[in-house]
Symmetry: C2
Subunit: 227 residues, 2 copies
């Protein structure tokens, strides 16, 4: 266990996964030092390599003498290591299982489709991947309608685990929308998610850490050398 | 939440993931009805489709009126819904985060490599994937040496979350060993895991649900139409 209480986060301003760690810590009012890992291919900081030797990826939460890696894992750790309110995961076993299920769905299926859209080799592949992403968002819309009960967030009136998981989709989706001209979040197909997205972006625990669409688009252009 | 206490598991005798759910329930002494979903392509039971509409995969745990899907999610649910001893996850936040990290490593990296070995199109691809799998098992060996502290299981003297996650690798590895003639678990490279594997297979919560290598090899031959 941590022998001291210093908290650090190694993140990257453009990383949707690092955002998860920061939102969780903000919700728990945990003070921490933020260390931005510059996005430079093939050159990672010694601290990152030492504290996440397996994946060598951000985010990493350093709590005293221990490091916690993988963004959803960090969010759960934050909820358990600082158990005071607000809770990030629900309290009942079934609701917790449901939250974990949908968070995993976001990482496996939604990010899988997003990567496929971004990495498609031709128009046909891109169209198929975009269709799959739309389908995933449709499923999330249904889940949101059922689970939010008109209260604004996936788990009800407060931002929680599924919101934090899903919220990380917003940046990448807005970049893909900007490049492709296709709207993935639409009033016709995902009206609940449209309003939820605005509520999430402007939430006081999210807003300070969420880059603007313009910043993300400029970053993507630079990263992929797009004129 | 569950309005009654009936417990059912939809599994498949050859599924390493269904094994996880059964081991967890056995550890908690939970009585349940086991429903074996026959492995028939393109034909799944109505109950499976209804209770896991997103992935349509085993295992599913049906507890009263609710269904819980995804094997690691089920194991965590079982630990939380039946909180009496023995605990499956450790009690301390960092140990819990570490257990979740390694369980995810097994699903992402180890099963990813296993699938790559099984699905390789040629010898070169198979050799590369086998090397990656060896590397993953080497990392698990290191983790086992550090975390078990000579007590037999990943978390110490009792079988726990990482054991249940890793244990599901044993069946698929033994099948690939049988087909390829390559030994992935070896005295030279993974001495700790070799002994742990025997301890896991023969554990009273595992043994009744773990098919023999012969059964799995015969099943794989039938599944892939190998003479």
């Amino acid at each position: 266990m941590a022998q001291n209480d210093t908290v650090k986060v190694i993140g990257s301003w453009s990383s949707p996964f690092a955002l998860r760690a920061r939102v969780a810590l903000h919700l728990k009012s945990v003070k921490y030092e933020y260390l931005d890992e510059p996005y430079v291919l093939k050159s990672k900081s010694e601290l990152l390599i030492k504290s996440n030797p397996i994946h060598k990826k951000v985010p990493v939460l350093i709590h005293g003498d221990v490091s916690i890696c993988e963004s959803l894992n960090i969010v759960q750790y934050v909820d358990e290591a600082w158990p005071s309110d607000p809770s990030i995961l629900p309290s009942q076993p079934y609701d917790r299982a449901s939250a974990r299920f949908w968070a995993q769905y976001v990482d496996d299926k939604c990010f899988g489709s997003l990567d496929a859209v971004a990495g498609a080799k031709d128009d046909e592949g891109r169209k198929a991947a975009a269709g799959k992403l739309m389908e995933c968002l449709g499923i999330l819309e249904e889940t949101f309608q059922k689970s939010s009960k008109g209260l604004g967030f996936f788990g009800g009136e407060n931002i929680g685990y599924i919101d934090i998981a899903c919220g990380t989709l917003l940046g990448p989706i807005s970049v893909i929308e900007a490049f492709s001209g296709v709207k993935f979040l639409q009033e016709e197909t995902t009206p609940g998610l449209m309003k939820w997205a605005e509520r999430f972006r402007t939430h006081e625990a999210v807003n300070p850490y969420m880059p603007s669409v313009e910043e993300l688009v400029a970053f993507a252009k630079q990263k992929f050398s797009i004129q």
